[in-house]
Amino acid sequence: MPNTYTLIASVTVGSGGAASIDFTSIPSTYTDLVVKLSGRANADVVAVICSINSSALDSGKRLRGDGSTVASASSAEAYGVNNSGATASTFSNAEWYFPNYAGSNYKSVSMDAVAENNGSAAYMSINAGLENTTSAISSLSFAPNGGNWVQYSTAVLYGIKNS
């Protein structure tokens, strides 16, 4: 069981906003990777697109709810991002976990995401995704599915080792 977290990189979006947050030249020296993201988009969007090595995830399954309804879908997009309609200055939280990211098997990822809207209906989801690549993960990208990340959105990349 991986049991050590090491900060690889952390970045916070500046005043101009950003279409995506990308981590490149990720070292292959860990067992797993974790990305934690606190984000808010400036458009009427609800999900985050994760790309591995410049390719959006090839497939995925999602279970999502909004406080009153629940649905499942074939999608790797993580539902649960605070958008332009959310309570001012609130940010959503999401996490992606990439096990065995440096191996030669296809790359799986599990995710959870929850929007925060001061008690009103808000999207939240858990997902499983797959990228059909045998290459090690060397870059990751996270983008809202429309608009930009606003200032103070933050993403943190951790490496995890099992010893």
Binding site: A18, D22, F23, V45, T69, A71, N145, G146, L157
Partner: protein, 72 residues
């Protein structure tokens, strides 16, 4: 103002703001369109399911709470 992405080079720690290429902008627009369509389809399916449920409850002459009691 041009759209940019923030790129963190994990080998150096360098953070750069880079303008999106035309290809990236096109991909982004396609992603946004696909996402909007998927969201609309999911919400339409949910609304249809809710309408079917309401119609069935009405046909049975019971409330949602009463139906939950029966199924519990």
């Amino acid at each position: 103002m041009a759209d940019t992405k923030i790129v963190v080079d994990c080998s150096t720690g360098e953070v750069s703001e880079i303008e999106l290429t035309a290809e990236e902008i096109a991909q982004r627009e396609a992603d946004a369109k696909a996402a909007a369509e998927a969201k609309a389809a999911e919400e339409a399916a949910l609304a249809a399911k809710a309408a079917e449920k309401a119609a069935l409850l009405s046909k049975l002459g019971i409330t949602e709470e009463e139906a939950a009691l029966l199924l519990g």
